[in-house]
């Protein structure tokens, strides 16, 4: 998916026909979004099977508000029984919040770019200094979404395992 995105980006930058360049550029935004989305969906399914089917627009809310509750319940039990200290609990919850919030910000922005790319054809892409823009979204930033999502998802998996929820 990311490869397709980067090929579309390359083609968009060299195509002299503005309509073709626009179509290629907005498709690249779409592919980069889906690469990040699929990594996240897989991770959410790993963390809890019924989270895998979460709707696109709802995923940032789940990442910001939904992860804490099950983690906190498991950690409280571990602190109460003496397995972990309060410091461990607060570190793990802090890491979980920060990672979930960062991924939520990424996906919220990426989803917006993808909606503009797919459903708002009157908003054209434009090029400046070898960078393709769709309103304020940059394709160079979009190209980093999949790797960043992958890194954040790896962190979420690690925290979830550390809490004992997988």
């Amino acid at each position: 998916m990311q490869y397709v995105g980067s090929e579309l980006e390359r083609l968009a930058l060299i195509d002299l026909d503005p309509n073709h360049a626009d179509s290629l550029g907005r498709s690249a935004f779409n592919r980069y979004y889906y690469a990040a989305f699929l990594i996240t969906r897989e991770t959410l399914g790993f963390m809890r099977s019924n989270w895998k089917g979460t709707a696109h627009a709802e995923i940032p809310n789940l990442l910001e508000k939904g992860l804490r509750k099950p983690a906190q319940a498991a950690l409280r039990k571990q602190v109460k029984s003496g397995l972990l200290g309060n410091g461990d609990e607060s570190r793990l919850l802090g890491d979980l919040n920060a990672t979930g919030n960062e991924l939520a910000q990424l996906l919220r922005s990426a989803y917006d770019a993808r909606i503009l790319a797919d459903y708002e054809p009157e908003i054209k892409t434009n090029q400046s200094g070898g960078i393709i823009f769709l309103r304020s979204h940059k394709l160079t930033t979009a190209s980093k979404w999949p790797a960043r999502a992958e890194r954040l998802c790896a962190k979420l998996r690690r925290i979830w395992k550390e809490v004992g929820l997988v």
Binding site: A73, L84, A98, T99, N101, S109, K155, K161
Partner: protein
């Protein structure tokens, strides 16, 4: 649908809330408000808009105009430069220990930091790095939401307990072999110490004659009950089935 927003004095509102761009999405009717992160603060103050003020504005849009909105905090070049500068400072001061620093700004006053270490690093060195980082960020009124270390990945106590439950009664070597699949740099001696800790806390017991470890009721109770095939009861039952056949 028109791409413009019909709100009285919207230009003044845009200035007040530092909205640098907005769009009405024809696909779902949502108004998307774009605000640069370097203009957003934790609490209301001059020259910034707080997250709470933006949330209140979104509620007002819904309440008074029936408009659903989405807030996008856009990346800012200023904050990217600040991240790069802080990374250089840390890498210069702790060149022997730090391989990389990833600073993510949620907004102008809150960050998450991940520090990649070059190898095994003492606790005191980590504390020095943390103090240095806090000194820089505090002077710039920036709060660290989370500081994470990318170093040797070791299993948590709950993972050691889960492996013990799956394989019990189990010898040290088998617990080590099981955990090593997910933690390749793990050492047997480290696992032995963790098992000793769990004995002291009465989560497991060690049978001297067979040199095997087994769970106590207290240990079984602390493991989270999860609804998935990774549930420790299911994993245990499958493992017993495999051993039998």
């Amino acid at each position: 649908m028109s791409n413009s927003l019909v709100i009285p004095d919207f230009d003044a509102v845009k200035t007040e809330y530092f909205i640098h761009d907005y769009i009405v999405r024809s696909s779902d009717g949502y108004v998307v408000l774009y605000v640069r992160k370097d203009k957003v603060s934790e609490r209301a103050q001059k020259g910034f808009v707080s997250l709470k003020q933006l949330k209140n504005f979104q509620s007002k849009l819904k309440r008074e105009y029936g408009i659903d909105s989405e807030l996008i905090l856009s990346d800012s070049e200023n904050l990217s430069k600040m991240s790069a500068g802080i990374e250089i400072l840390i890498k210069t001061n702790f060149y022997e220990a730090v391989e990389g620093v990833d600073i993510y700004f949620f907004h102008s006053q809150k960050v998450s930091v991940m520090i990649k270490l070059s190898g095994a690093t003492s606790l005191s060195k980590k504390e020095s790095i943390e103090t240095f980082l806090k000194t820089i960020l505090t002077s710039a009124k920036i709060e660290i939401q989370a500081l994470q270390w990318d170093d040797i990945d070791l299993p948590s106590l709950i993972e050691v307990l889960t492996a013990t439950k799956k394989l019990q009664p189990v010898k040290l070597e088998k617990v080590y072999a099981c955990l090593r699949k997910d933690h390749p740099l793990l050492q047997e001696n480290w696992v032995n110490k963790q098992l000793d800790k769990l004995i002291k806390k009465r989560f497991i017991v060690r049978e001297k004659s067979t040199e095997t470890y087994a769970m106590t009721a207290r240990g079984l109770n602390v493991l989270p009950q999860i609804a998935s095939r990774n549930n420790s009861d299911i994993v245990r039952a499958l493992d017993l089935g495999r051993r039998k056949w």
